[in-house]
């Protein structure tokens, strides 16, 4: 059963969310989903960009003004 893990990066400036995402994804199994919460506008751009380049399935949603959730499904 694929699990969903939440990673809270609220209030953390770029590039900390990206590095945390990288580390958290390593721990997960293929098919699991990582939900990264960010409120730094730079992270909202580079976290999805990085994850897509790695070949993962990515969705971005602005859940509140200036707060985003990045859904990353680990593909490999």
């Amino acid at each position: 059963m694929a699990k969903e893990v939440e990673l809270d990066c609220m209030g953390e400036a770029c590039p900390i969310p990206l590095i945390k995402t990288e580390k958290a994804l390593e721990e997960l199994e293929v098919g699991d989903t990582l939900i990264v919460l960010v409120d730094h506008s730079c992270a909202m751009k580079n976290v999805p960009e990085w994850a897509r380049k790695q070949g993962h399935e990515v969705e971005l949603e602005e859940v509140d003004d200036g707060e985003w959730e990045v859904y990353i499904e680990k593909m490999k």
């Binding site: 400036a13 770029c14 590039p15 506008s41 580079n46 969705e59 003004d65 200036g66």
Partner: protein, 232 residues
């Protein structure tokens, strides 16, 4: 601000359980801010027309910076961290465009026999430049933004960046305090190079653009090399 880029995929439906928080309506505050901006603009315009121009240019710059997510810090950091050079190349293109435009402006003054504007900004290249660049580079990655990026993120409401701004000011004051020593020790002994003096106006521009082009190609290859290596 409500603009969202949501990439839909096959698993979008499997996430129906996520309830959305209702966003605050930002239209009223936007209208108030717009009125204040316009009011300040009118006031500056009556005071002095150039002030109005600076006001509008500043606003346009900030708006572009925010909407485009243009980040000088990322342009220097991401090639190491994520091997992505898209922002690096965007900065290089910006440099190329400004090189052409500034050469055109300066040349315009020069052929009309007028004093070339902005010549006082040509500072000597010395070891102080290199040391300063390294210090700034380390600082901006830790702080999560360079000068413009820090200001922009404070505007976005990212309060941690206020700390960056505070120490940015402290550092600037400290730098100003010691500037005399740097100037006497390094800068006065260093060469001051204005490319058109050595290579002519066209030559200077061409060399400048060539250097930018070479870095651009290297940046592109760097990203390509690392993204090819990914599919293992």
């Amino acid at each position: 601000m409500a603009e969202e880029k949501v990439r839909t995929s096959s698993r979008a439906s499997s996430r129906g359980g996520t309830e959305k928080r209702k966003k605050k309506n930002q239209i009223p505050i936007a209208m108030i801010i717009f009125a204040v901006i316009a009011g300040i603009g009118v006031w500056l315009g009556f005071k002095e027309e150039t002030l109005l121009l600076y006001w509008l240019l500043g606003l346009a710059f900030g708006f572009t910076l925010q909407r485009s997510r243009f980040c000088f810090t990322a342009s220097m950091r991401d090639p190491y961290l994520t091997k992505s050079t898209s922002i690096t190349r965007a900065v290089l293109i910006a440099f190329a465009i400004t090189s052409i435009a500034f050469t055109a402006i300066k040349y315009g003054y020069f052929i009309n026999g007028l004093a070339i504007p902005g010549q006082s900004y040509i500072a000597p290249i010395s070891i102080a430049t290199a040391i300063g660049a390294c210090m700034f580079g380390i600082g901006m990655v830790i702080a999560g933004g360079c000068a413009s990026g820090t200001l922009m993120r404070i505007g976005e409401g990212f309060w941690m960046q206020v700390i960056s701004l505070f120490f940015f000011i402290v550092g600037s004051l400290w730098g100003a305090h010691d500037f005399g020593w740097w100037k006497r020790t390094f800068m006065l002994k260093a060469p001051k190079i204005f490319l058109p003096d050595y290579l002519g106006w066209l030559g200077g521009l061409v060399v400048n653009l060539l250097i930018i082009a070479v870095i651009y190609v290297i940046a592109h290859k760097w990203e390509k090399k690392h993204s090819d290596g990914l599919s293992h």
